[in-house]
Every structure is written in C-alpha cells, then in structure tokens.
C-alpha cells in the first residue's frame, strides 16, 4: 500500500520540483539568448541562486493577488478549467518509466506509477483531455479574446493530435507493444538502435506535433499575446492563472519525457546496458560519489574565494560564502567517507537500486535537454498564422506521418 502511494506521489513531486527549475531556465535562457541578464534580484538572506529564488517570489505574488471573476462568466466552467489543465498534465506522467524494472524476489518491480499494457494509448487519451481545460477557459471567461484563443486551441490540438499519434505508429511496429517500458527496452542502450535513428521522420513529426500540443511557440496561437492579448487565460488571475502557467510547463515536461522515452532511449544510459550497470554498480557508485565530492569541493572553493566586483553593503555580499562553505564541507565529507570506508558492498538489491538511480539521472538529463530545446525554439522562431498552421498540419504533417507508417510497415514486412 505504501509503495503504491509512493509510486503515485513521487512522479507528481518530480514534476512539481521541476516546474520552478524550468521557469527559471526559461527566464535565464531567454535572457542570455536576448543579450540580457535575467532575474537576479530576489533573494533570501542574500542567496539568489542565480535567480532561482525569483520563482518563489512569483509564487508569493500570485498567491496574494485578488481572485477575479469576470462579470457574466460561467463560474463553474471558469473555475474548473485551470484544474483540468493542470490535472491532465500531471496524470499523464503516471505511465512513464523512470528506470529499468527492479527484480525483487523473482518478480519485476516497475519504476512507474502504473505499468499499463496500453501505456501509449493512455497518454494520448489523457493528453487529448488537455484541450478541455483551454477550451472551457476560453468559453467560460465571457471574453471575445479568450473565446478566440479557446477556438484556436481546440482546432490546433485536435489537428495535431492526428500527426502525433500517427508518428508513433512506426515506433510501435518496431517495439511490437504499446507498453512504454517495452518500447524503451526494445531500443537498447546502443545509441544507433534508438528510435531517432530508426525513425528519423517519425521523430521529427512527433517533436513538431509535441510543440503544437503544448502550445509553445511557434504554435502558441491560443495565447498569442500580440493579437489575443493572452488568449484563453486573459481573464484569469491569482492562483488560477498560476495553474495555467504551471500546466504549460508541466505539459512541456511530459512532452520532453515522451520524446525521450519514445525516440531517445528513455532511461537507457548511452552505450551502457542495464546488465553492465548492475555488474559494475559498486565501482561506478564509488567513483561517481568521489567525483561528486571533488566537484563540490572545487565549486565551493571557487565560490568562497570569489571576490565581488560590486559590494552591495547588504546580505548579498555573503551569498558566495553562504553557498560555498556548505558545498565545500559536503564535498570534503563525501571524499573522506569514500576514502575511509572504500567501495561499500552493495549487494544484489543495492546494485539494482544504484543502476536505477543512474538510469533515472540519464532520463532526467534527457528531459531537461528537451525542455531546453523547447525554450530555445521559443526564443528563436516567429509565430505561425492560424491558416498556415492548419495548412502545415493537414497538408504536410499528416501525409508525411501516413507515409512514414506505410514505409515503416513495408520495411518491417519485407526485411
């Protein structure tokens, strides 16, 4: 029972922890792409963490904003819409595998909330619910801009869902299963056997449709701030707005996780198979903890030694010290522990857990990379126009996706 609860809560918590990080990444990334500095003011006792603390300030701000109901808005629909948007984004995560299943007392213990045998179908089914959140928000706000945003969203998401689902069919043919864990295992740890190599067109189509599904630029028509002010969430304030905001990033994480799982080997560490990881778990763990310790010491030393060019005459002057000393101490402790006690015997279960931790790290790195791609594209490309978007979806992407299915199936049949 406890394990089931943990399995449900942990993916949710991972998303919730990634959200502020992503918002920070978006702000800072945008700033550096645009020749600016980005958030660097909000601080707790002088610690700014390069702007991460700003997300906290935002949360506080959003909580204390007045919660406004527009005149003549449909209260029920207006209230429920942001919840749908956020819930859908979080629930999708349930079937995504975090690491290779543990073998425990003869039975496999999968590291995902639910190991559904129709995993990918579940994701598409739940994912298409996401449009309700946006559509209802657009309808319920009693605002013409919102309505236009909602209409755009529904048309766009329904059109691109077709391509999204069809582009995965090739992958499913290769894996012979709808289970996400099987799809990942089928790809193997060899980089050349990942689906991105086997299904390049499918991967491209999937990534583009994922952009459209998450309503990110160049497909952010539902909230196009130029013509629709803020689109479907123009009337929202306070935490309801925050929910939409979070849902956007949660969707981004889900989309990144899906791209990684379906096309980039999921939790597979490149060129290192699960067996190798488990066999050499002990030395790998030993050296990586040692490396972490060394890195921590180096970073701490760098921070402690660093002299400020500007002296603020307030708590910010001690920022480097506050961050540097603990890093230094933790690093030293890690190194000392490793040297004194040597490689600890991990045992059967321990090596499995260590291997799973590594795979989890690799998966997280992949997710963050694709999130960065989302951010990168957003600050590089202009926005489509509504009719151009539809044309691209129906006339280019859908035929290509169909072609991909036919060609893949043909190749699979004859070779």
């Amino acid at each position: 029972m406890l394990i089931i609860v943990l399995k449900i809560i942990i993916p949710f918590l991972v998303i919730m922890q990634l959200l502020p990080l992503l918002i920070w990444l978006e702000r800072k990334g945008a700033a550096y792409i645009q020749d600016r500095r980005g958030p660097n003011r909000a601080a707790i006792l002088g610690v700014r963490l390069g702007g991460v603390v700003h997300s906290l300030a935002d949360v506080v701000k959003l909580i204390f904003k007045e919660d406004i109901f527009p005149t003549n808005a449909n209260k029920f629909i207006y209230t429920i819409a942001p919840f749908i948007a956020m819930a859908v984004a979080c629930v999708t995560f349930a079937v995504i595998p975090w690491a290779s299943p543990l073998e425990w007392k003869g039975s496999a213990f999968s590291l995902q909330a639910v190991d559904l045998n129709v995993g990918i179908l579940y994701i598409f089914a739940i994912g298409s619910m996401g449009v309700y959140g946006i559509m209802l928000a657009g309808w319920g706000s009693n605002n013409k801009y919102s309505l236009l945003g909602g209409l755009r969203a529904s048309a766009q998401m329904i059109s691109y869902e077709l391509t999204l689902s069809l582009s995965v069919v090739g992958v499913l043919i290769f894996a012979g299963s709808l289970e996400l864990n099987t799809i990942v295992q089928n790809q193997g740890s060899n980089l050349l056997s990942w689906n991105v190599i086997r299904q390049p067109l499918g991967c491209l189509l999937f990534v583009v449709s994922a952009f459209a599904e998450t309503n990110r630029l160049p497909f952010d028509l539902p909230e196009a701030e130029a013509e629709l002010v803020a689109g479907y969430h123009v009337e929202y304030s306070s935490l309801k707005f925050a929910l939409f905001f979070m849902a956007e990033y949660a969707n981004m994480i889900v989309a990144s996780a899906l791209i990684a799982t379906l096309f980039f080997g999921g939790w597979q560490v490149p060129f290192v198979s699960t067996e190798t990881l488990r066999t050499y778990a002990q030395p790998i763990a030993y050296y990586s903890v040692l490396g972490l310790g060394l890195f921590s010491v180096a970073a701490g030393w760098f921070l402690v030694r660093r002299k400020h060019k500007v002296v603020y005459h307030d708590a910010r002057d001690y920022e480097t010290k506050v961050l540097g000393f603990p890093a230094l101490l933790v690093g030293l402790a890690l190194i000392a522990g490793q040297i004194l006690y040597g490689p600890l015997p991990l045992g059967e279960t321990g090596s499995q857990v260590a291997a799973a931790a590594f795979q989890f790290g690799a998966f997280l790195a992949k997710i963050l990379f694709f999130c960065w791609v989302f951010i990168w594209v957003r600050w590089t490309l202009p926005r489509f126009r509504y009719d151009q978007l539809m044309k691209l979806g129906w006339r280019v992407m859908l035929p290509l996706a169909l072609l991909n299915v036919v060609v893949t199936a043909g190749i699979y049949l004859w070779f």
């Binding site: 020749d35 013409k144 600050w379 202009p382 126009r385 509504y386």
Partner: protein
Amino acid sequence: MTQAVEKTDALKAKPVYLNLGPSHPTMHGTLRLFCELDGEIIKRSIAEFGYLHRGFEKHAENSTWTQVIPYTDRLNYVSAMMNNVGYCKAVEELLDLEIPERAQTIRVIVCEMNRIIDHLVCTGTNLVDIGALTNFWYYFNVRERFYNIIEQLCGARLTTAYTRIGGLMRDLYPGFEDEMRACLKDLAKAIEDVTGLLNTNKIFLNRTIGVGPISKEDAIRHGFTGPCLRATGVGLDLRKAQPYYGYENYDFEVVVGEHGDSYDRIVVRFEEMKQSARIIEQAMAKLKPGPIMTDDKRVALPPKAEVYTNIEALMNHFKLIYEGIRPPVGEVYSATEAANGELGFYIVSDGSGTPYRVKCRPPCFPIFQAYPMMVEGKMLADAIAILGNLNIIAGELDR
C-alpha cells in the same frame, strides 16, 4: 439535398464585433480598430484615433515661437529630434534665415540617428507582433546606446528639444564621434544578427510576403510617404527630391521595394538604416568647427558679455526674452523627410510673438486612413502584423 441546404441557410450566424484597442498590447499607442469578424477573418473594420489628442496645434497658438519646440517632441516621440528640426526649419524659412554650416551638418547627423532609432523601434516591435521576440532585444540594445548619445547631447532621452530657431541648443560633446562610430558598428552587427535570424526563416517569410500589399496607385492616392510609399516602388524621398541641409552632397541611395507588402516595408527599413549610417559617417567626416547658432539679431540672443556692456545688445536681449521671436507676416509650408515620411509644418504668422496657426502634417495620418482597407478580408493576426510595419505613432497621429 435541397432540404439540407435550406436548413443551413436557416442557421443564422451572428457576426462577432471585436474591439482591438484602444488599450491593447499591440495597438502601438492608443489606436482602435473596430472589426466585424467571421471566424478569424476581418469582414469590415473601422479605424478610430484621437485617444491621444493633446491639442498640439492649439497649444502652439498660445505659445511663443520658441516654446513650441518642446511640444514638437511629443509628436513622434520615437524620433523626437526630427520633429524639432522640422519645426525649426519651417520657422527659419519664414524668417528667411540661413543657419551656420556646422548646425546644418549636426542637424543631419541627429536626424539620421533618429531615423535609425525610429526604424529600430518599428521593425523591432513589428517582429514582436509576429512572435519573434528576440530580435526586439538585439535592436533595443543598440537603440539604448543611441539614446545614451542623445542623453549626453541634450540632457534628455525622449523629450529632446535639441534645436533652436536659428541653430542648436548645444554643440556636440567631446568624444561624440568615437562613440557614434562604435554605435554604428553595433548597429551593423545588430542588423546582421536580425537578418541572419529572419532571412531564410520560412515562418517569417510566410507571415510577411504578400501580407497587406498596397499598390503604387493606392498608396499615392492615400497620400503615403516615406518607407511605406517607397516599399511600393515609388522612389520619393524628400532628401533627394527637395534637398535641404546639403543632403544633395551626401552619397546615399533611396531604397525602394517592389510589392508594397509587409516584407518590403520591413526590408526597406533595414536598408534605410544602413543608408542612414552611411550619411552619418559622411557628415561626421565633413564636420568643421564653427558656430552652431546664427548671429541674426532677430532670433539669436547676444553674447552675455555684450549684454552687460552694450546698450543695443541689452535691448536686443530684453526684446527677445519679453516679446520672443517675431517673424514677418506670411505663411510657409516646409517639409522634411522624417522617419515615417513627409513631416510638414504649415505655419501662418501675423507678425506677433506667437504663431497664428501651426498646422502639422504627420506622415502617418494618411497612412492610417488606408489601414482599414488594408486589413479587410485578412486574418486577425495579419491586422496586427500590418499595423506594426505601417509604423503608426499615436502621438503624431492625434497631435
């Protein structure tokens, strides 16, 4: 079958009426477009302005001739110095006054600098309208540097009031030329960055090519001037057509487009910035030391030393301060090529210390009249994209 058709006919659809503006993030200033929508397509539209009317012309009738100069800053606040120059040039023509050569050259430099700033703002914000936000920052970093120059030049960033009737308020500061050259280098880099991001960008090309075209004849009929007219292929530039301040001696090209669509309007502005940079380089090369204010007693205050020692100078000073400049009875229309097009001032003097009438011909007034025609039948997103590159400045439009 016929029954089905009848049924769809019976479904009465009501058009949606949408107010774009006056407070809308991309209605540059306080403009309002009231449109009838069929889905996303604008069926009919009415463009309305006047939300920023401050009565510039009436103000001018109650101020001395010199006091009008700060009001002109508020016309086109994006390129304030060009309005200063335009107004002062008109009054000087009324007085039949020739300003010193150095003052002319400096006016050319600041005008071209403001033209660059105006085009930076116009194209930068227009790209934001179509969703490409990063270019905006590349441009605004350069613009910031130009504004630093302006700040050092006259103490203000936006409301410059840099010119005086008969010359300038202040000479260039030491080190101006080096700073300007560094800025122009940055500008070239920024243009390169932005064109690098856009030139082969399919989305950008789709959003601009063939969007909001206007034919030569329509443009002329509406009274278009400036980059919007030149984008249609008419090479009218007052700097070439009626040269002033020695523009005939500078080597620069009039950039013309072909189709008069959004793409041409943006590209014409890109190229004009490069041409303006060329003019600034040439002007700085031929800048010679000399006075920046005419010594004409009708407009220029005598030197302080003379005021204290010479009775005539004292009287002159007193009259100029108390009565102001008194141009002879008459009227004049004088036009300069401002960033948006022909900026004209029609001035009537009754010989008193205040203008009888100052009529301003803002370049974007005729352009805005064509806007509803240009957006009808287009999509909502296009309406915003077109408005951006027409460069309507509400301060100038409403006066």
